[in-house]
Every structure is written in C-alpha cells, then in structure tokens.
Symmetry: C2
Subunit: 230 residues, 2 copies
C-alpha cells in the first residue's frame, strides 16, 4: 500500500476512533450492552445470532444491526426473532465503521434496549481495525475453516474479547483439530475465553447464554472488561 493511502487512512481511523468513543459513551449511559460479531464469510454469524436472539428475546429487549455488501437477507432472517433489526448495506466497503453504526441507530431509543448485536461484514481482516463502540467483540471461527486461521489472521483474534468456535457438529467430518485451534488462539491472544457451539444442534449455546446474562448484569464497559477476564 502506498505511503499516501496509509496517511489518509490514519486520519480516517482517528475520526473513527473519536466517533466510536462517543458511541461507547452513549451506549454506556443508555445502559445497553453492545456486542459485535466478526468472522470470515460463511462461518455462521447469522445462524448463531438468530439462535441467540430467539432465546434472549424471551428475557431481554434485544436488537441487531447486520452488515453486508449487498442483500437484505440476513435482516429478514433475524426479524423472525425480534422486530428491532436493521441491515447496513455497505456496497463495496469491506467493513462496518462507527459512522455507519451511528446512522443505522437513528430513531432508536437505546435506553429501551438491553442488548444490541452488531454483525459485521464477513471479513477476517479489515473489520479488526474499526472500533464500533462495542463493549464486547466476538470473533467466530467455524470448524470447517481450519484450526490455522488464528495464526494467519492474528489481528482480528488479537482485537477481539471472546472467540466462538462454530459448526462444531461438523468438526469430525472436517477433521478439525480442536486442541490446535485452542493453542493457536491462545498464542495470539493469551487468556482469551473460548466457546464451542453448534447452531444446528444447540451444543454450547447454554454456556454462551449464561455468559451473556452475566455480561448484561455488568453492562458498563469497564465492568464488562473485568467480567470477560474472570
């Protein structure tokens, strides 16, 4: 990449960081717990989120923003669980940024929400650099993608708070080496909490729900950070 584009990008990133900080303060004062999901395309973010929303909607006021280059398909799927879903279509842009999130929130009463999910564009590289003001960032890695991905895409794992191994029902068929995956995550992000789930069979979903309930009980970002570490 040219020096010129790096300089301009640095400025844009700084603007994004400022806006993300303002968003984070807004979320905190509204008492809403904001969780973003990042992963490769097709690692099961939407299926996982759909299952979570169905379960969480019984207990909490939940909402979701979903990012994609094109189509409204994901928002339509998620609206079966909750009406509070908005799609952000980015065109050719490979990630969400804080400005897109702020625009998408227009007219929503954040104080009326308990948990807001932000599903990023499927991309294991670019979203890592853009703070969205979230309190928690979850990186998803599917068993079918292979256990080497944390080493090959270290930044996105390093900038996330929690890792979720998805499609564990296919781990055997995909010859997924779970121990190697755990070791690779640990090497790029020591101490990171790791969940193993299958949206299809329901495996591991209870553990994630418990974790989110606890997280919600400590909704301020600083308290959340402590909770994640513990």
């Amino acid at each position: 990449m040219s020096t010129r584009i790096i300089e301009v990008r640095a400025k844009v990133m700084k603007q994004n960081d400022l806006l993300a900080r303002a968003l984070r303060e807004r979320f905190e004062s509204a008492g809403v717990c904001v969780i973003s999901l990042v992963s490769s395309p097709g690692s099961g973010k939407t299926a996982f989120l759909e299952k979570l929303l169905h379960r969480l909607a019984r207990e909490f006021h939940v909402a979701a923003l979903v990012g994609d280059l094109a189509t409204e398909n994901d928002a339509e799927r998620l609206r079966r669980a909750t009406p509070h879903v908005r799609q952000i279509t980015t065109g050719t842009v490979c990630h969400l940024d804080a400005q897109m999130v702020e625009t998408a929130l227009e007219g929503w009463d954040l104080a009326a929400l308990d948990i807001l999910f932000i599903e990023n564009v499927g991309n294991l590289v670019c979203p890592s650099s853009y703070d969205l003001g979230e309190g928690l960032r979850c990186v998803l890695l599917s068993a079918t993608e292979g256990e080497d991905k944390p080493l090959k895409y270290p930044t996105i794992f390093n900038s996330s708070d929690v890792a979720i191994l998805t499609k564990m029902d296919m781990a055997e068929a995909a010859e997924f080496d779970l121990e190697a995956a755990r070791r690779n995550i640990e090497s790029v992000r020591p101490g990171m909490r790791i969940f193993e789930v299958s949206s299809k069979t329901g495996l591991g979903m209870e553990e994630v729900l418990c974790f989110l309930r606890e997280l919600r009980a400590h909704a301020s970002p600083s308290a959340m950070a402590e909770h994640i570490q513990s």
Copy 2:
C-alpha cells in the same frame, strides 16, 4: 468511507492497473499461464492448489505465489509439490496487489515456467478490486460457507472468470443447496463456468485438470478468454 480516502484509493488503483497491465504483457511474452485464486479464509484454496500442483508438476513447470497476512505455512505445504513457491506476507494488508506480485517474481525466469498460480489473501471483498495481471481468476466457494455468498459478495464473483465449489464431500452434512448456489452464481455472473470439487476425495479434479491443460494450450490471455467462454 470518506471522500478523501476514496480519491487517494482511485489513484492507487490506477497505478495498480498500469502495473498489472505491464505484468500481463510480461506473462504473455514469456508464454506463462497465470491463474489467481480468491476466496474466503478457510475455503480450501491451499488444499486445492496443493492437489493441483502435485498433478500438474508431472506434466508442466509449475510455480506458485501465496499471499497471507502472516506465517509461511502455506508456502511450506506447497513446496512438497514444487520447489518454485514463494510466500508473500502482507502484514495487515487485506489483499495482494500488482506491486507485491512483481517484487515476489524477482529473479525468476518466467520463460521457464508453464503455469504460475497466485493464491490471494483469504478475503471475499478487497482482492476483487486489484488486478494482478493474471490471465484467469478463479473464485472458490466451499460447500460449508453456504449458497448465499455470491449474492452477498457479488463483486468478487463478478470479477472472476471461473467458480470452483470446494469441499463438496461435506455438502450433505452442511445442507448445501447446490442448485441455489449455481443459480446465485449465474445471477451475478451469467454464463460463468462452475466446477465442483473435493480436494479430500479427489472429486472433480480431473475436470479441472483437463480445463487447465486446455487453457495452457491457449496461453495468450485473449485466446484464454475465448476458451473460458466456450
């Protein structure tokens, strides 16, 4: 994205296009057939390429450049098939560009090669915008990623010449809807040639090999373009 970064990017893209054009002329005059592979992380580019290289190395002088943010793992794997493999580590950059390809080729006698593969960074968004001077761009989509990806990431399918559906041995377990996948590819890139393969079972590899042999027999880019359409 800000107007400023878009303007600077346009200039960088123009530089890339000029350099890619020069590379394409170099490849053509050297008589080497250059094929790039793009896909999500974990859709099986390296496994597919490894199988291809082992087979093609019996008949042709083959070489490969492999892009990753970090690690030399892929190059090491591919070197079992041919010694002519170089890794391009991009750091935090989410795609290969023509300059990286030119630099990586330094010291190689292109005229001594028959087929050169360029495996891009795993990313279904950004690589679509960067011409690498290749004669053929193949987009890979694994059965485990889901049949909706062509609609959600139309640019990368639209800018590719051939689609390869990988991990077809897991299609049933993943409940992959093959007809929908074919329909979705057709809708974003009408007439696109589609192969179905499994690097694990060998399914469909013969068809790909036949296609590549034919392609190699028509190594000039204009003849290649005609061959792809036929």
